[in-house]
Amino acid sequence: MSAPVIRFNDLSYSYGEGVLRRQVLFGLTERINAGEVVIVKGPSGSGKTTLLSLLGALRGLQTGQVNILDHRLDGASKDEQLAVRREIGFVFQLHNLIEALTATQNLIMALRLHPEIENPLEVAHRTLEAVGLKHAFELHPQQFSGGERQRVAIARALVGGPKIVLADEPTASLDGVTGHTIVKMLRGLANEQGTAVLLVTHDVRILDVADRILTLQDGRFVEGSDDV
């Protein structure tokens, strides 16, 4: 059994204050191991995105405990949150690649946060090759199809060799075949690097790639969350 790289206990979160306060997460507890692919599904407003942003150290915690690798996020300073984020690969629904940069340069931006990695250009090219974009090192995002953009985004998330990848609806803007190919690729690459992947989605077509599926409803994990 691999060691857990993500652990959270009794995690709750609310938006707003006073009478406007609305709790979206209620005492969630879970652990995700290295190399494991976990999908969190659930209806809109169930708290999936909030959970992802808390685990990604993009929001400060309110109550509960979160451990990412060796870092505790509860009580973490901004600088500590920043340090945690550098160890995570993020994949966003809208890719959000930097249009002014080539595919390679987009990856180099991620690698600049990892000065310990030698030959960054070679690493960037190798990662782009791994996602099937050998022909497109010097192309800009606007020259890519939607699927290719998402591949570049995945390559950017993986290029620094993260132990954790957090992906938010990575297939939402893609057709079924492309979406499935992308997620399988994510899974394959993650497995090779022993990376834990936490994937939030509505897309039932990609559930088969998961080791486990967690269902979130009204801020709580419900029955049906289980191994695949």
Binding site: L58, L82, R86, A100, Q105
Partner: protein, 390 residues
């Protein structure tokens, strides 16, 4: 070689990606630079031309009448005051200088135009100007004058060309014939678009109403090692007279600049012009960088999510500001230099674009762009990486 592709500037890539916007920003900064440099050039030309005679006087102290306002204003004082000053310890010699506006007949059109006439004692080297020292012999001949080659041709005709092709020739001053027997370099000013130089003898022959005993300026030369301020104070105490003013040369020059700053408000106009340039440049750069930051908020948010600290974004916008300032400064400098040349050729004013001025304006432009960039940067706080997860 393998590292080549990893070295790129995000700031430059973001700017260069939107070429039209970059061109607009550069044009805006260029416009501001031109506005600032031209204002400085005009101000320098005004103050420089107004004080050119004074700066070239070979004297340590200057004596002027108590009612003196500016060079060329018709005020005189008793020459005896100058003689009294000559007796003060520390004074080596004193020289009278005469200056007034006279009418010079345009050698091409025949119309009379005002010109500044300066009367000197030939051989005493009152004015250290190119041409004057070389033509001292010409000045010694009665009725012979030197003509300022930078006087406006439109006002006085093509005297320079005529002299170059025909040699000395006859011109008319207030109806009296004189011989133009040489050229010197001075330049136009607020009150005259040209200058002529002659001996005091010729000066008074042309203007019989004026008297040699009533000079307009007194040049006081000191003995080597004498302290100008101490001697000035000594002269003041000795003369104990309210009809003259004695100043050091530098104070005399400053007095002229102050006069024109106050009466013609050129200092105020200059400051307003420079501020307008800075304002226009700042607004344009702010607008461009604000748009740039706003349009790239999702990308900035991604970089924040990846772990880039806030100082990285500050540095990026700062770098963009500096790039814009340099890109706008270079064409601005070239355009300004052309305007300087054209203005100097057209007006006869001295328009000097010095390295110091250029460096100063570059620093001002950079500061302007950085301030605008800092203002635009405030919007970066809206780049919330948590919002990327929808």
């Amino acid at each position: 070689m393998a590292e080549r592709g990893t070295r790129f500037s995000l700031a430059w890539r973001l700017l260069a990606f939107e070429r039209r916007r970059l061109a607009a920003a550069v044009a805006g900064v260029t416009f501001a630079v031109v506005l600032i440099l031209v204002q400085i050039g005009f101000y320098g030309a005004m103050t420089g031309s107004a004080t050119k005679v004074q700066r070239n006087l070979d004297a340590d102290l200057i004596m002027v009448p108590a009612g003196f306002e500016y060079f060329g204003s018709v005020h005189d004082f008793a020459r005896v005051r100058l003689m009294q000053a000559a007796a003060v310890p520390g004074v080596a010699e004193v020289l009278p200088l005469y200056a007034t506006l006279v009418n010079f007949k345009n050698v091409d059109t025949g119309y009379y135009r005002s010109i500044m006439a300066i009367g000197v004692e030939p051989g005493r080297h009152e004015l250290l100007l190119p041409g004057v020292l070389a033509h001292q012999n010409s000045l010694m001949v009665a009725g012979h004058i030197l003509f300022d080659r930078r006087s406006l041709t439109a006002y006085y005709g093509d005297v320079v060309h005529r002299f170059a092709t025909k040699g000395p020739f006859t011109a008319l001053i207030t109806g009296r014939p004189v011989t133009v027997d040489g050229l010197f370099n001075l330049g136009t000013s607020f009150i005259a678009f040209g200058n002529i130089l002659m001996s005091a003898q010729t000066y008074f022959a042309l203007q019989p109403d004026l008297k040699p005993s009533l000079p307009n300026f007194g040049l006081i030369r000191l003995k080597p090692g004498a302290d100008p301020v101490a001697v000035r104070d000594r002269i003041k105490r000795t003369l104990h007279a309210g009809d003259v003013i004695v100043e050091t040369k530098q104070a005399f020059i400053q007095r002229e600049i102050d006069y024109w700053n106050k009466t013609a408000a050129i200092g105020f106009i200059f400051i307003v012009g420079v501020l307008m340039g800075v304002l226009v440049g700042s607004v344009i750069v702010y607008q461009i960088l604000f748009t740039d930051v706003t349009e790239h908020l999702p990308e900035y948010a991604v970089l924040k999510a990846m772990g880039y600290p806030n100082r990285f974004f500050t540095g990026t916008v700062f770098e963009q500001s500096l790039i814009l300032s340099v890109l706008g400064f270079v064409p601005g400098l070239i355009i300004s230099w052309l305007i300087y040349r054209y203005t100097a050729a057209t007006t006869g004013y001295t328009m000097d674009l010095t390295v110091l001025t250029a460096i100063g304006v570059l620093a001002l432009t950079a500061a302007m762009c950085v301030v605008a960039g800092l203002a635009a940067m405030r919007h970066l706080s809206r780049a919330d990486p948590a919002e990327l997860f929808r």
